[in-house]
């Protein structure tokens, strides 16, 4: 079981990375709108393309 002397410090490094990533996400406003993100997935799948979108040239990628 002496392997834990290597693996646990390794896990700690990953922990620091995870904390840093979380701080970065919070600072860059990714948690600003929790209400909307929860339900966003519901809407995109069944959007019927509007008449206007169909006729629109492909210059504006969505």
């Amino acid at each position: 079981m002496d392997i834990i002397f290597l693996l646990i410090p390794l896990a700690l490094v990953l922990l620091v990375v995870a904390v840093a990533a979380f701080f970065w996400a919070v600072r860059s406003d990714q948690f600003e709108d929790l209400d909307r993100e929860a339900s966003r997935i519901l809407f995109d799948e069944d959007t019927q393309p509007s008449a206007k979108e169909k006729s629109k040239s492909p210059e504006q990628p969505q």
Partner: protein, 809 residues
């Protein structure tokens, strides 16, 4: 309700409306042309599935009201480059960016609809709508679309947008939110790690572990727990220090004591190879408590944000006149004394000043609550924020915006608020008793073990503190309040203060302000009396024709009626009435009659003393140059469901009162209709406040409902206060809660929900106390190992949270 409701906004559809739109394959009834046009747009742009996904209808009145031409006309002002400077950012390559405040967003489907619709407009580069804050950031190409075009596009799908500049308070809310999140992140990730080490240590305790491994695991746990304790746990430590300084035992005290003991004793055990470490308990404890507090904070922030938005006064513009009397648009807060401004009819007066030119009448309802305009002439002073009703006037600004009447009133209000009676918080009271009990018990337990087995004393006291961990107890109230706040906002009520819900629970007396609270402030024709033999309908047609040119609230009562098209030469006489001429063919040839409608002293023909019908109320006279033709009785409309609400309130044992500034006797009429006995009319704001104080002195807890600026000090003085929909900005700021719907009926449900909330809080508290009563003796006897105490703590907290969530159903 048996009648149909509008498919778009949910308001009832009356039998004589025939608006309909085919949505999702079926014809759907609509209540008004506004809803119809919005629904048609939504269908036309291929977003019918909005109706499938939305969870709530948009607030009733808005779409229809926003499509009126006045609103759309006013938009063109936003294209003025001078005005845009203050709120539009220039992006590279000529693009522009703006933050818009959007009203009418109720659920994620709205956000989706708005973004899709805006991204489909030519010239819009990017659009992001934030649902929590109701703010949209839009960047666009000014050559392809104008700012007013964007706002119009938003109006077409039924929302109202206006340029927005964030206020200080929002920045601090945002900072607080981010800090709470990072604290939770550190505690959560730390807790996960430390739990795995703790599990290994428990396993080791049962099955044997190499002492080197055990020491190593303890050291690693200590390393991970240290930032959790000092960074994530800081709010509890600080809160405890603050509460001790104020000599008041708050929940933070035992939390901080338990945390500090557990942490430092574990560190000590790690250093000296002591029997037990509690690092996992420290991390879990911090994490759970932080999550509970975060949810509570989020609900509070949401209400605060909404009230900030509501009281965000629209950016005011003013038409400043230069030396050649040429108007240019400037932001109203840039005006300085001496500036001359032109205020057209229907516009808000941009600042305090003196009328240089023009006679008009001004609606000062935001100051006084009185809906009827007051006439103003050359040389009269007018107040910024009031509404110019009839004719264009030229003003000379007399004060800086900062020293204006409005700003002074805001300061007065803050002072009134400071005197508000403190609300007694149930949980706080129980908490401080509990904390005292735990501390006393710990001391007793410690002294007992000190005499019997000194080496165990410290560890046992620690397990007492951990097991009686006040986690469940301190979550009991916030979770229930949070769930209730969320539920209330779904019901159309924003609780903007932390004590609102507690205050509502204790209410014994409900005080209504008459104008605009029980009534709508919209006048309607109640009765027509003919003074001659002339047909009533003919009289009404004449009156409607005359009043058609005026936007005075009384005149508006006549607008729905059919006009007599022959009335010509209409002229408004400010705050008196309207006159016009009518050519009539008589046997002796054409005769021109001069018709007048309005106040009896104005309309009465020379030499005739008017004899008003013998019935209380507001009477308007119609006359020609020879005789009085007829009388019209105009009355303010009662809000829908006002009578229902009052009878419900009375049934549940609450006393109702009406306080009115009105002297016309109308308050008594309204009271009689609603069955309210206690009426005080003709009351000044000081009167109102002293009435409330006298109620409070007799032991009553007063809930005040009001809307006007004159009510603001009274709202601030009541134990708990609610501003109704359409209330003035200041009243909304002063109130503890804002009722968003036009109907008063939700108030009854709100009070019911508050009752239910307190039932749940009581259940939670009893559970938490029961748990502690069982766990405490066991821990004091030294029976509870650390893993069991952590498990007990988590399970009891979870139970409390789940119980609170029942409120959301």
């Amino acid at each position: 309700m048996s009648e149909q409701s509008c498919y778009h906004c949910g308001l009832p559809v009356t039998a004589d409306d025939h608006y309909s739109v085919t949505i999702l394959g079926q014809p759907r009834a609509m209540c008004c042309p506004g809803c119809q046009s919005v629904a048609q747009t939504i269908v036309a742009i291929g977003m019918e599935s909005y109706y499938e996904h939305r969870q709530q209808c948009p607030p009733g009145s808005s779409p229809a009201a926003d499509l009126v031409p006045d609103f759309l006309d006013g938009l063109n002002n936003w294209d003025d480059p001078g005005l845009q400077e203050s709120f539009v950012h220039q992006l590279p390559e000529g693009a522009r960016e703006i933050t818009l405040l959007i009203s009418g967003i109720t659920c994620a489907a709205c956000v989706w609809l708005l973004e899709k619709h805006l991204n489909d407009q030519a010239g819009i580069h990017r659009c992001h709508v934030n649902m929590s804050s109701n703010l949209a950031v839009v960047s666009w190409n000014p050559e392809a679309i104008s700012l007013s075009g964007i706002i119009k596009a938003i109006a077409h799908v039924g929302y109202k947008a206006e340029p927005y500049t964030p206020v200080q308070q929002e920045q601090s809310i945002k900072r607080e939110n981010k800090q709470a999140l990072t604290r939770i992140g550190v505690a959560g990730l730390g807790a996960m790690q430390v739990m795995t080490y703790a599990v290994s240590l428990y396993m080791g305790a049962f099955e044997g572990i190499d002492p080197a491994h055990e020491t190593f695991l303890r050291w690693v746990s200590a390393l991970v727990t240290t930032p959790v304790f000092f960074y994530s746990g800081m709010p509890f430590l600080k809160g405890a220090v603050r509460s001790l300084r104020n000599r008041h035992l708050s929940m933070d005290v035992p939390v901080a004591i338990a945390l500090t003991f557990a942490y430092f004793s574990s560190v000590w055990a790690t250093l000296t190879n002591g029997p037990e470490v509690y690092f996992d308990s420290v991390c879990m404890f911090v994490f759970f408590l932080l999550v509970g507090r975060y949810l509570e904070m989020r609900a509070r922030h949401r209400s605060q944000n909404t009230s900030i938005r509501l009281s965000h006064s629209q950016m005011q513009t003013a038409r400043k006149l230069d030396d050649q009397n040429h108007p240019t648009l400037v932001p109203a807060d840039k005006l300085v004394p001496g500036d001359r401004v032109l205020v057209k009819a229907g516009e808000v007066i941009p600042g305090d000043g003196k009328i240089l030119q023009g006679d008009s009448s001004v609606n000062e309802s935001m100051l006084t609550g009185e809906q009827l305009p007051i006439s103003k002439h050359q040389g009269d002073l007018v107040t910024g924020g009031t509404l110019n009703v009839e004719q264009p006037i030229t003003l000379e600004i007399s004060t800086l915006p900062k020293e204006s009447t409005l700003s002074t009133l805001k300061r007065l209000l803050q002072r009134a608020e400071a005197d508000k009676p403190a609300t007694f918080v149930l949980a706080d009271r129980i908490a401080s008793h509990f904390v005292a009990a735990v501390l006393v018990t710990s001391v007793c337990v410690y002294s007992y073990w000190w005499f019997h087995s000194p080496q165990d004393a410290f560890w046992i006291v620690l397990s007492v503190l951990v097991v009686t961990c006040p986690c469940a107890l301190s979550l009991a109230t916030p979770t229930a309040i949070t769930a209730a706040t969320a539920r209330l906002s779904q019901m159309g009520f924003l609780a903007t203060r932390s004590h609102t819900i507690e205050g509502l629970r204790q209410v014994t007396d409900v005080v209504f302000d008459k104008t605009g609270t029980l009534t709508l402030g919209e006048f309607q024709l109640q009765e027509t009396v003919a003074a001659t033999t002339e047909d009533l309908y003919a009289l009404l047609a004449l009156a409607a024709a005359l009043e058609s040119v005026s936007e005075h609230p009384i005149a508006r009562a006549f607008h729905p009626y059919t006009k007599n098209p022959d009335v010509k030469n209409l002229r408004i006489i400010a705050n008196q009435g309207v006159e016009g001429t009518l050519e009539q063919a008589t046997p002796t040839g054409k005769v021109e009659r001069l018709l007048r409608i309005g106040k009896p002293e104005f309309a009465a023909p020379a030499g005739v003393s008017p004899q008003q019908p013998d019935k209380p109320g507001q009477w308007v006279m119609l006359a020609d140059q020879n005789q009085v033709l007829g009388w019209f009785r105009i009355e303010d409309q009662l809000r829908a469901d006002a009578d229902n609400l009052v009878s419900h309130l009375q049934q549940s044992g609450k006393r109702c009162h009406i306080l009115s500034g009105d002297s016309s006797g109308h308050a008594e009429v309204v009271a009689k209709k609603l069955g309210i006995e206690s009426v005080i009319s003709n009351a000044t704001p000081e009167h109102k406040l002293s009435f409330i104080r006298s109620l409070q002195e007799s032991g009553a807890k007063v809930l005040m409902l009001g809307d006007g600026l004159n009510d603001a000090p009274v709202l601030a003085g009541a134990d708990v206060s609610i501003a109704v929909a359409g209330a003035s900005d200041l009243a909304q700021v002063a109130a503890d809660g804002i009722l968003l719907s036009q109907s008063l009926q939700p108030l009854h449900n709100i009070l019911n929900l508050v009752e239910k909330t307190y039932r749940i809080i009581r259940q939670n508290l009893s559970w938490a106390i029961l748990y502690n009563l069982i766990a405490l003796p066991l821990a004091a006897a030294g029976f509870i190992p650390p893993w069991a105490s952590a498990l007990g703590m988590s399970a009891s907290s979870l139970l409390v949270v789940l119980n609170a969530l029942r409120l959301n159903k």
